[in-house]
Every structure is written in C-alpha cells, then in structure tokens.
Amino acid sequence: MADTIKLFVNGVEVEVEAGKNLIDAIGAVGIEIPHLCYHPALGADGNCRMCLVGIEDGRPPLVPACKTPAQAGMKVLLDAAHIKKIQRDVMELELINHPTDCPICDQAGECKLQDYYMSYGRPESRMTVPQVQKSKKLDFGCGVVHDQERCVTCGRCVRFCRQITKTGELGIINRTDDARVNIFPGRPLNNRYALNVVDLCPVGAMTSKDFRFKQRVWFLKKAPGICHGCAKGCNITIEHNREKYQDDIIYRFRPRLNPQVNGYFMCDAGRLSYRQENEGRLLEARLSSQIRPLSDVLAACNQEIERAGKIVVLLSPNCSLEQMVAVKTLSAKLGASLSGFSDGYVKAGDGDGYLIQDDKSANRAGLTLLGIDCTQETFEEAVREAQLLINFNNDLTRSYTDSELKKLLKDTKVIAVATHNDRLTAMADIAIPVATSSEYAGCLINCDNILQAFALAVSKNQQPLDIGAIAAKLGSPLQSRAEQFAELRKYISILKDFEADTLPAEGLKLNDSEAANVTA
C-alpha cells in the first residue's frame, strides 16, 4: 500500500492514497466526484468543469478536482449548495445541444451524461432557440463512427490520439457551441488502438461500427478474461449475452484495467478477436469426416493410440498452463514425443513496443517453463518417425502451407483436438471439438513473465470439454483442474501459496529463478 494521508470530505475524515489528484484519491474510497474530461490515463484537462469542488483554505471558491492534488488535512467540500448548483448548471450547459436520443443511442446504460443527469440535478431545459445541428454519423476510419451532436467536447479522444498513439488524427474544430470533433479531410484514424476512443468517450459520440446497434448494454453479462491475441495478455472484460432460445454469444471485448500489464487500453486486433470465439467453431466430433458421438470418437482415438508405434503430441502455445501439464503428463504416459512447435504464431516485426507483441500466442512462456521442446527440427523429425500425431489445437496452417503440411503428414494419422474448423481439421482423420479460452478457466504467463489467471466466462448450451479434460479422457492421470494445478506447483514454486481460484487479480510477477525453474 502506498503512503496514505488523511483529509476531510464534507467534514468527514477519510484516509486516501497520497500523490493522486482529488478525483482519484477520493474516488478510490468510494466518494464520486463527477467528471467528464478527466481520465487517469490521459491526465487532467480541466475543460468540462464538472469536477469543481470547494477547498476550505482560502483559495478561490471553486477549484477543479482533477487538477488539485490531494493533501493532508485538506477540507474538501462536495455537497454545498453552491457546488451542487455548479454541477446542475454544467449539466444544463452540456444538454443544451445534446440530442437526447438515448433510446437509439448505443451508450445508453453506460453513459456518463445520463448517469450524471440523474445524479446531479436533473435540470429542465430552458432553451427556446433551435439546437445546433451537426453531423450524425461520420466514419472516422478504423471502425469508429462519430456523432458530433452527442459530443460533449471533453477532448478525451483527441488527447488519446495525441498522447497515447501519437498519431493525432482527431481535433476539436471550430469554437463555442459549434465546436466538434473531426478528422482532417483525407486523414482518418489510422492506428492500431483507435477503438479505445469508443471506450474513452463518456457519452455516445464515439461508437464502434462493429458493436453499434447489436445489443443494449444492460443485457450484456460481464466476465473478466485475458485476451489470447498475443503474448501481452491484456486484461479484458468479456461481454456476452444469451438471447432467448439462442446460444450464449460474445458481443465485445473491452480492456480491463491492470496497471502492470495493459493499463486501461488494448489493441483493436485483440478487441475484435472476440469474433473467433463465436465464428468458425468446430462443433461436432468427427471420425473420418463423419459426425459421431464424442464417446465413439474418443474410443477410436484410444484404439489409434494403442495401434500406433510412435506418437507425436503437439501443443498450442495458446493453451493454459493447466492444459499444458495435462497434455505433458499424457504424453509422458503414452511415451510420445511432445512438441510445442509454433513458429507460425510469431509475426516478426509486428510488435510496437507498447501492447502489441510479435508473438501472437498467449502462453509461449508456459511452454518454455514446462520445458517443452519447440524447435522445428525436433518436431519434424518426430513426425516423420511417428504413425500418429495428436494435435492439441496448434494451428499448423500458420507454420506451413497446405502442400507442405500434406507432405509432412502423408504417413501420419492425425487426431485434431481443435476449437476451430480449419484446413487442418478437414485434413485430420479424427477431429474433437474443444472449448475456446472464454469457455474454460486457466493460467497464462505473458511476455513479461506475469502469471495471470482467468475464470470461465461463457457457458454454451453445449459446453465443449477443454483440452485438459480431453487429455484426461485420453489417459492423462490428471483428472481435474485441481490436480493439474497441483502438478503445476512442481514447476512454479510460488504457486504453493495459492489455489487455482485465489491467484491475485493483477497477476503474479514470476522472478527469474521461478521462470527458469524447469525440471530437466
């Protein structure tokens, strides 16, 4: 815990963290100071005037809380009549030209303007002049659609593009009641984090082309998760809903604050990777292209395993640590050679030094930590000698072209344990559907050696088994997540202090000795 200081809010003493501004410091102990333009990642701008508070120490009657550092002994006044009047007046000002089209606005339900209108004054409009008309659907590029009339010109999006992505596509054009956010003609949003402006927008001015009109936000169930799009492991909120008589569908990923991993943001590619959870899934177990019950297919697998002389087991670098140990013990029991070969997941030069990493897999560090060989030579040599390849969701089409793959696997039977229906499952002799990352719980180690746990987020009508459970059915001695986790403790000593579901939310930073703690 950082240093704390004591100050007074409305005459009541509270203890808050030192070194923060009033909004963050007091907000952290549950006292809200309304604000539109301030955002912790973008700093204080002081333009919206919604956070004006009184400080009873002889300074000017009102100061913006976003620009005022919390100090010991400070007497902060929030509930005085003159401050409530300011909040009410700011609300009235913001709403003069606001179209109040909440019934058709995507932001409704998570809109600061809506919330503050209800909490701070509910001013009736006194305006008799017509409202200023602006553009209603400007395509800013990168899937961002802008409604200038809803905008409160807080400038968060503008500051995001200038401070965080340093691309500066957006600006506030004109002044007074004609001020509006716009791009310079012919220079639209062009950065890989652009959709964060949709989250940053406190109102419904910035909407995502991908999400708009799809779902009312109050229907969405929110579950914490980890993005599996690259080695960063950005913390996300998985927002999903099961409509009546339908299956549970994910509608969007949004970034979730984790200061030591991703901060407040995530990249657009990761954000849109929710589609892969919904689309192109392998849903039925298949035996030589025939759909068969899973039990039959598993029995066929066991026959194949018994028949085969040499077996290669291939792991995906996206598997959770639990799945990896389950498959590793299975592989040891079968006397198979285990590989994590996945060079195709690495897109050299794609990373940007911020959140996006070259490595498009979520848990390569896990493969390394468990001592699983990932070299191409070993994998190919093993495949050439083997009669059977059991592939646990490793997308080999990323590493090989179709013809290379056909050549490599010409004398090898393939059991594809896969989330998605792809060219490899089509080629496989046996295909077994498994859960994607939103459908099981597990742990990952990211590129910075931070071990993060995620819980099961989505339960489908027909919930597929996860790779760990399939490994157990094929003979892995680890029959449950608890047993897998216990096995993990042999590799990561710090886990002895934790249970699978009590890992800290912000992740566990593994030190070098733990990360290198590999049994030979």
Partner: protein
C-alpha cells in the same frame, strides 16, 4: 459563431513562393517548438493566396511536422483566417462598441447600396469582399476600416468613397 469545418480543396498541391519560404525559415528559429509556427505559417498562406485551402493546411502541417488536425483546429478557431476565396480587396469594418457608436453602420449601409455587398459577401466582379469584425484596437479613432490589412481611421462615407476609388 458558425461552422467553419468545411474546407475547400483546390485539387492542386500548395507550396510557399520563394519569399514566403524564406520568411517561414526565418520565423521558425524564433520559437522553442515548431508547433508555435502554426499561426504565423497560416498568415503566410493568407498573404500569398488571400485565403487558406485544405491543401495549404496539409502543407503547413507537414512542413511544421505537426498533426494536420492541430492546424485544422487553429484555422477554424480564429475567424481572421479566410477559408474561401475573398475579393481582391478585403474590407473589414469594425463593429465593436466605439466604432458602432461612431457610425460603422453608415459605412456598412453605404457599401450595401453602392457595391451591393453585405458582410460575408463578395462583389460580383470579385473586386471587393466585406466582413464585419470585432475590435481592431483603434477605438480612439473610430470608426475604423481595414483594407487588405491596412488601417483607415476616422472613417466616414466621403472618405470611404475616395478610398474605394483608389482600389482596383
């Protein structure tokens, strides 16, 4: 205020002439950051072309090395920057208190009757354009008319008539 966000594109690339080019390089040394050049470089465009096109804004942004959106912000914020072609002679009549009290309306009315333009308009022959502006800072010698940047003080209809005759 009005919406100034609609920029006009000439369809041709913009470039400073040699004189303005040299002036830009002279001015840029004056400031600690290159962003400070936004307003001066916009003045240079207006001096050269009489107005500021979309291409000219992009040119200036790239030359300064700043975001086009930032120059776009400045050019739409300040009404002294003209975003569409003006007449050959641009008349700015001050309408703030002193000039108003000392008869700016007579000047406006004269221009309306004589040349047929109201504030915001350009005469059909392209010779004049008229704009009413806020305080030009010459209240002691009101009313004041600015013609192509030059001040003409203590104006009245007779003096204006003589002045207009000298303008081509």
């Amino acid at each position: 205020m009005s919406d100034r966000s609609q920029l006009i594109s000439t369809g041709k690339p913009f470039q400073y002439d040699r004189e303005r080019d040299a002036e830009f390089e002279r001015l840029v040394k004056r400031y600690p950051t290159r962003e400070s050049m936004i307003l001066p470089s916009l003045w240079l465009i207006q001096e050269q072309e009489g107005w500021i096109s979309q291409e000219a804004i992009a040119y200036v942004a790239d030359r300064i090395g700043t975001f086009a959106s930032m120059v776009y912000e400045a050019v739409t914020f300040y009404t002294m920057y003209q975003l569409h072609p003006m007449g050959r002679n641009h008349l700015c009549v001050c309408r703030t208190l002193s000039c108003w009290l000392r008869g700016k309306q007579e000047i406006i009315d004269y221009l309306k009757n004589e040349i047929g333009i109201t504030p915001g308009q350009i005469s059909e022959d392209g010779r004049f354009s008229l704009e009413e502006v806020e305080c030009l800072g010459h209240c002691g010698t009101a009313p004041v008319v600015q013609v192509n940047g030059e001040f003409h003080e203590d104006m009245n209809v007779d003096k204006l008539k003589a002045l207009l005759a000298t303008l081509k």
